[in-house]
């Protein structure tokens, strides 16, 4: 699996988007999550199971103007 254009080494069966966000302590309030280019909304994080071949982007939007 790819996370933000890098190989994600801790992929495992049943890994969800929420798991990735928690494992990486992505606590920033404004995230844009895309799986294979499709937007995943926050309410879908827990139910979106990731495949070994998935390309996941967790884009942190800028802050501070």
């Amino acid at each position: 699996m790819i996370l933000n254009y890098r190989e994600y080494k801790s992929w495992r069966e049943g890994l969800t988007v929420r798991d990735v966000i928690e494992e990486n302590t992505f606590t920033w309030p404004k995230l844009v999550v895309k799986r294979n280019g499709t937007v995943i909304w926050p309410e879908e994080y827990g139910s979106t199971v990731l495949d070994e071949t998935d390309d996941l982007e967790v884009i942190h939007l800028l802050g501070g103007g």
Binding site: N4, Y5, R6, T25, F26, T27, W28, P29, K30, V32, V33, K34, V39, W41, E57, V58, I59, H60, L61, L62, G63, G64, G65
Partner: protein, 741 residues
């Protein structure tokens, strides 16, 4: 939680006191002027105030200046250039403070539209500094008939300058009884110049504070009256020591008084478009803010806790990034115990983002106002991080008290925080000790002695005089006294070009190292904040990508400074469907909003390309201005190693695994080699790699910006921009010839 409806109003100053102050005022000189109404965001007039001659002159702003410099920071730099010469220093009489609010400033329908830009030759850097600030003064200056204000010369005695648009007069007055500290002075002058309680909304005050008389990091406070609390509140033009220049000119305060604010004082080209864009923005904030950053609840300090998760909070003088005590000062703590909720906290009309939070009736425990209850500006991220974790302090009460005194004394919270963090590290390393500090124990986290240090700065006493210098001059002084090694202090003293760093640790983002190092005024994040794009999102992996970002963002963000706009409403809130756009991080709908506001005000249609061009003209002008003042070349863009990598052993060991892995993955060592290297060898290899990478970055960025490898804008580039002005060519041509370009 404290709600605004439970907050008692602040006491007004008694009529007796005001009467005494008024009676002691001495009118030194008075001028009448014809007020020029605004047309499409401009008056095309500049007011020049000469403090030495006590003269006020109104002149036209030429069409070609308007065309090339647009307004705001562009005007400030243009007029400052004309006033000074290469040997001008901050305290030369010809040095000016120039202020301008920009064409969009003063509309009331959209968030963040009341910014004033200010430039001067800085006592910290000896080059132009630009700073932006909210509050009433800049827009009121426009309503009073002026797109810009120049302050030049020096007065022999303390004076206030009053621009009274209600009568069309400009006066120089002595006001001896008023205090010098900003929270009192601004309240006093607001009360003195308002006809009644309601009229306080129509008075704007600019003042420094008692420490600005002595400290190179002196700043300017801009007032805005809060009718709900019944108190005059302050926003700060913090960076670069403008307050010190202000006080050196013996200006006690500026006052601008108008008849009142209405929705179309800018006399805009298309009010309908502005109304529509504004309502859309307010609705977006109403629906989304609470689910995004909660700017209305806590302001920019929302990010303290979360940035620690990314190793970005400048813990113990930027040594670490995870701020171990941060749970004591999270947004939730500030919201629950300290910041008043539910108030309309915009620092200009129409700012529904309302991030100017306040802690009400805050009880002071130290200093000249000990025992009093005051309204404290809720710490912004920069203030909270710099005054807090950078100095090892995690107690919200202490951070608020330090923040309050910085503001009222007229000290920049960012420079003060970063400077104190430096002194604390010097103390830890034995460069300073109790004897050298005059008894102050500057151990990490000692807020009591931190405050005592500041009170001494305000009294110009003992070690306070050393603190007043700022890091750049402190390093030289400590080395000269034989207390510390200059090279070592250069590594961990977080300043560049003489300006203290703002509060983000950039070690894991090369692009942000450039975002700090390759700036015009010095290391402030307002040109480019690329940490997430680079370190976390990995969206700009190559040098080429990073260089493109370090070309585009500084230009894009400069545009806000030309217009009189705040950058926060651009990306501290996003539309609900922003994730579906082509480029979510740019918030395309908001960029469209800004182009609409520009059209709505000026009647001129521009696209993003022209937006960047407008900025690029001014940006290159500022770069050449730096060169002209002797500090604008490649050598001046070098950064302290602390901002790029671990200086000391404990710093390396803190993230040993990360640094070791990078030696393999990025620097080309084999795992076996790394395993066999001593800690010192690994540190040296890391440093060599990181320092080389910064140079490679510069090699990529300068050509993108149209500069030579020595950092000089080329003639072709200036010609392309329509900026091949003779005075600019005169500065760069000898340098270009030397480089053989």
């Amino acid at each position: 939680m404290i709600h605004i409806c439970d907050v008692p109003r602040y006491h007004a100053i008694s009529e007796d006191e005001l009467k005494q102050m008024r009676e002691k005022h001495v009118l030194l000189r008075s001028f009448s002027y014809e007020k020029t109404p605004l047309e499409r965001g401009y008056t095309d007039k500049i007011l020049t105030v000469d403090l030495g001659a006590k003269e006020a002159v109104v002149s036209d702003i030429p069409a070609e200046v308007k065309e090339k410099f647009i307004g705001g920071k562009g005007y400030c730099l243009r007029y400052l250039w004309d006033a000074v010469n290469p040997s001008t220093r901050w305290d030369s009489p010809e040095n000016e403070i120039v202020m301008s609010a920009g064409p969009i400033a003063g509309i009331t329908q959209y968030g963040g539209t009341g910014k004033t830009l200010i430039c001067t030759i800085s006592p910290l850097t000896d080059i132009p500094v630009d700073s932006n600030v909210g509050g009433f003064f800049g827009p009121y200056l426009k309503f009073a008939g002026f797109d810009a204000l120049e302050l030049k010369g020096k007065s022999e005695t303390d004076v206030i300058v009053v621009i009274d648009a209600t009568t069309g007069t400009i006066t120089f007055e002595e006001a001896p009884l008023e205090h010098f500290d900003a929270h009192v002075l601004c309240e006093e002058l607001t009360s003195l110049y308002a006809k009644d309680e309601k009229d306080k909304m129509n008075v704007a005050v600019v003042a420094a504070g008692s420490a600005a008389d002595y400290c190179n990091m002196g700043m300017l406070n801009f007032s805005f009256y809060d009718p709900r609390r019944g108190v005059t509140r302050l926003k700060q033009a913090g960076r670069g020591g403008i307050g010190r220049v202000f006080r050196d000119k013996r200006i006690k305060a500026l006052v601008c008084r108008i008849d009142g604010v209405k929705a179309n004082l800018n006399h805009v080209a298309d009010i309908g478009l502005i109304n529509k864009t504004g309502v859309k923005f307010h609705r977006e904030i109403a629906n989304n803010d609470i689910h995004q950053n909660d700017m209305r609840g806590v302001g920019t300090a929302y990010s303290l806790r979360t940035l620690a998760d990314y190793d970005i909070v400048p813990t113990n003088n930027f040594k670490f990034g995870d701020a171990p005590g941060i749970d004591e000062m999270t947004a939730a703590v500030f919201k629950k115990d300290w910041l008043t909720q539910g108030a309309a906290d915009g620092c200009w009309y129409g700012c529904s983002m309302a991030c100017a939070k306040a802690s009400d009736h805050f009880l002071l425990k130290t200093g000249p106002y000990k025992g009093q209850r005051v309204c404290v500006d809720g710490p912004e991220y920069e203030s909270a991080a710099g005054l807090g974790p950078a100095c090892g302090i995690y107690n919200p009460q202490e951070v608020l008290e330090i923040n309050f005194y910085c503001d009222t004394y007229g000290l920049d919270t960012i420079s003060y925080g970063t400077m104190t963090a430096f002194l604390m590290e010097c103390y830890e390393r034995g460069i300073l000790n109790r004897e050298r500090t005059g008894g102050l124990d500057l151990s990490w986290g000692n807020a009591a002695d931190d405050l005592e240090l500041m009170h001494r700065m305000a009294r110009n006493e003992g070690f306070g005089k050393i603190a007043a210098l700022g890091i750049h001059k402190q390093k030289a002084y400590f080395a000269e006294m034989g207390w510390g090694d200059l090279a070592e202090m250069n590594d961990f003293g977080m300043e560049q070009k003489g300006l203290e760093y703002s509060e983000y640790s950039a070690k894991e983002s090369l692009a942000q190292q450039g975002g700090y190092g390759l700036t015009n005024k010095g290391p402030q994040h307002d040109e480019a904040w690329l940490i997430f794009m680079d370190q976390v999102n990995n969206q700009i992996p190559t040098f080429e990508d990073k260089a493109e970002a370090l070309y585009f963002y500084p230009m894009f963000r400069t545009w806000f400074g030309l217009m009189g706009l705040c950058k926060l409403p651009w990306n501290d809130i996003v539309p609900a469907d922003n994730a579906l756009t082509d480029d979510p991080k740019m918030v395309p709908e908001h960029v469209e909003n800004y182009l609409n506001l520009y059209y709505g005000v000026t009647g001129k249609r521009i696209d993003t390309k022209e937006m960047i061009r407008q900025s690029e003209r001014v940006y290159n002008f500022q770069r050449i201005f730096n060169i002209r003042m002797g500090k604008g070349l490649r050598a001046d863009d070098a950064i302290p190693y602390r901002s790029a990598g671990p200086v000391f052993e404990d710093e390396y060991l803190w993230r040993e695994e990360r640094y070791d892995t990078q030696l393999v993955e990025l620097a080309g060592y084999t795992p076996e080699q790394v395993k066999s290297m001593s800690l010192q060898e690994r540190m040296a290899a890391t440093r060599k790699f990181r320092e080389a990478r910064y140079q490679t970055l510069i090699d990529a960025v300068y050509p993108k910006r149209g500069w030579t490898l020595n950092g000089v804008p080329t003639v072709e580039h200036l010609r392309e921009l329509g900026m091949d002005l003779p005075e600019l060519l005169e500065v760069i041509e000898p340098l270009l010839a030397k480089e053989g370009v």
